[in-house]
């Protein structure tokens, strides 16, 4: 990619992150980009992953290089601890594939919010799979730091849902 393209992409990413965009797709014929942001990643970590990938991408934009980050960003985040703030936190990961809901029914209060204390076994969310609502229980006791997914988001196996600070 040309230097200007990389700069444009960097600005685009900043813009998307600052507006809390979770996924972004562009297919322009000569260029195809798909960005998927894992909300747990600190900005620094996200961009360094991106920069590394951009360096290995083919030179010519005309080759319709597809910079696919979806798999590497979200799964890479699960494998490598990202920014320091995340270190030492326990991730509650999804045991199934489905759609995440943060509250028991539409409009109802969320199961948990950041700052709440949860017990091991406490229901902290729902993942709907094949029309069945599966309660997601916390596997540890502690304080909810962050909800890493949004209401109605498609979830894959092993995807981090909540970060919890254990005592």
């Amino acid at each position: 990619m040309k230097q200007q393209d990389i700069e444009d992409l960097r600005q685009l990413i900043e813009f998307l992150k600052s507006h809390g965009v979770a996924e972004f797709d562009v297919d322009r014929g000569d260029l195809k980009i798909r960005l998927k942001f894992n909300p747990q990643e600190g900005a620094a970590a996200g961009l360094s992953d991106l920069a590394r990938l951009l360096q290995t991408a083919p030179q010519s934009v005309a080759q319709a290089a597809a910079v696919t980050l979806a798999g590497s960003v979200s799964s890479g985040a699960a494998a490598e601890p990202a920014a320091n703030a995340e270190a030492g936190l326990h991730m509650v990961k999804s045991p199934i594939v489905g759609t995440f809901y943060g509250s028991p029914s539409p409009g109802a209060a969320a199961f948990v919010a950041p700052g709440d204390h949860v017990e091991k076994g406490q229901v902290i969310g729902i993942i709907e799979a094949m029309k069945l609502m599966n309660e997601i229980e916390s596997d540890v006791a502690g304080e909810v730091v962050k909800c890493l997914v949004s209401n109605g988001q498609a979830i894959e196996f092993g995807q981090p849902l909540f970060s919890i600070r254990t005592a």
């Binding site: 199934i96 594939v97 759609t99 799979a129 094949m130 979830i155």
Partner: protein
């Protein structure tokens, strides 16, 4: 045509299906286990969803996970590949109930062909020759003898509850029958708690020949000729060819016609393969049907010029066979496929690990279907097939010459592969002459073991 298809498989066949979808303008969704995160099928799909931990039963065979992935990705159809869920009638039913098109035959037909005795009866009704046998359990040695007279020696007595070769006896002479019957019965009773036996005709040194069929959803069926798959080790195919040297044009035409009629009668849809054993007098006997695309489909693609996976997608989306196939199906040349496995070429021990060098051969008439690459890692959880090497020549001699050349240029380092085993087979006079049956590999390996014992 479908807008989006999920491929419920992994490895080379997942990539094969993704490729066909891509070429047809269909958006692709891959599913993968945690062990396959860095797979090519994941990388080259438009979307990829992790569905479970490494073990197949928790991921690729996990129906709720696969269906859930199909729902969140909003796909219209699922292609099951081969193995895994491809012949699982329950899975096909769940797809139907979830309003997702299963790319294959209707669940009822899958179920019918999955029950061996029912499949035999369905074939018999359609005048497809089946392996003669007793109609059910033999109540006594006398009844066994009567059946043996009808069926013709040699026959094999098999335990109804059996497996692993136990409770089986081959009977070549009427006078041996009573003793062998009792021996088989006792062995079965001891091994499985049930001594009940049935009888089948036993074919000495059979050849394994199968026919490819395609059926659309409007009642049309076509036969895409046969494949010769006798080179097997422990019932796993190693080398396949198309066409078979044993099938005359007349046989090909007759069997093709009979199968088309039969498939039509049972309401078959999409791709399928009907397997036969051929005896020494060149008679074919139906043994079973596989209601899915097969590993060795590339040899048929080579000689017919028909892309079978694209045909599957097109059939499932409602297209008619006469729009998919040429007006007159013809065979061109001869094709051979070698299945390259990640295993030691002599000891056959499986080899998992990281590939350090991977040079894939190319050139005129050489096709390689693989999902591996240099720096790729082979996980220990799945089967050991790492690549299919297909050679297509104007005749068998040219196909063999191309295959030998290609095997020689296929360099894989970091793991053991069966490439050198294939090279040895292609040097063997018997194989080159087309002189083989399903016992070939056993004899070949025994001869090789003997040769190694001789002083150099």
């Amino acid at each position: 045509m479908f807008r989006k298809v999920l491929v419920a498989n992994r490895g080379e066949i997942a990539l094969r299906v993704l490729n066909a979808c891509r070429e047809l303008g269909i958006r692709t969704v891959a599913v993968y286990s945690e062990a396959d995160r860095n797979s090519l099928h994941v990388r080259f799909a438009d979307e990829a969803i992790c569905i479970g931990p490494p073990r197949a039963s928790d991921s690729y065979l996990n129906v709720p996970a696969v269906i859930s992935a199909a729902e969140i990705a909003d796909v219209e159809a699922i292609h099951p590949g081969y193995g895994l869920l491809s012949e699982n009638a329950n899975f096909a039913e769940v797809c139907r109930a979830s309003n997702i098109k299963f790319i294959g035959p209707p669940p009822e037909v899958t179920r019918l062909m999955g029950e061996k005795e029912k499949a035999r009866q369905a074939m018999k009704k359609a005048k497809v020759p089946i392996l003669p046998g007793s109609d059910g359990i033999l109540t006594s040695a006398e009844e066994a003898r009567e059946w043996a007279e009808k069926v013709g020696y040699p026959v094999i007595l098999k335990a109804k509850a059996g497996g692993g070769g136990r409770g089986m006896r081959i009977v070549r002479d009427a006078e041996d029958l009573p003793n062998l019957f009792h021996a088989a019965f006792t062995e079965a009773a001891n091994a499985f708690g049930n001594g009940e036996l049935y009888m089948e005709k036993f074919i000495e040194q059979p050849r394994h020949i199968e026919f490819q069929v395609l059926a659309d959803e409007h009642g049309s069926v076509a036969s895409l000729f046969e494949r010769e798959c006798s080179i097997q080790r422990r019932h796993q195919k190693l080398i396949e060819e198309a066409p078979s040297l044993q099938i005359t044009p007349k046989m090909r035409e007759e069997v093709g016609r009979t199968l088309c009629k039969c498939m039509s009668e049972i309401g078959y849809q999409n791709a399928g393969t009907v397997e036969f054993l051929m005896d020494a007098s060149h008679q074919l006997f139906f043994i079973e049907m596989n209601t899915r695309i097969q590993v060795e489909h590339p040899v048929t693609e080579a000689i017919t010029g028909v892309d079978l996976v694209k045909a599957q997608l097109r059939i499932a989306s409602g297209e008619r066979l006469d729009a998919i196939l040429p007006a007159k199906l013809e065979m061109r040349g001869h094709a051979i496929e070698c299945r390259i496995n990640a295993e030691h070429p002599v000891r056959f021990t499986p080899s998992a690990g990281k590939i350090t060098a991977f040079n894939v051969p190319g050139g005129n008439g050489i096709r390689v279907d693989t999902a591996l690459y240099a720096e790729g890692v082979i996980p220990p959880y799945y089967d050991s097939l790492i690549a299919k090497l297909i050679a297509h020549g104007v005749d068998r001699a040219e196909a063999m010459a191309k295959m030998e050349r290609a095997l020689n240029q296929f360099i894989v380092q970091g793991i053991d592969t069966s490439i050198s085993l294939h090279e040895e087979i292609f040097q063997d006079a018997g194989f080159r002459a087309g002189d083989f049956d399903t016992g070939y590999m056993e004899r070949f390996l025994a001869a090789r073991a003997e040769a190694e014992k001789q002083p150099a």
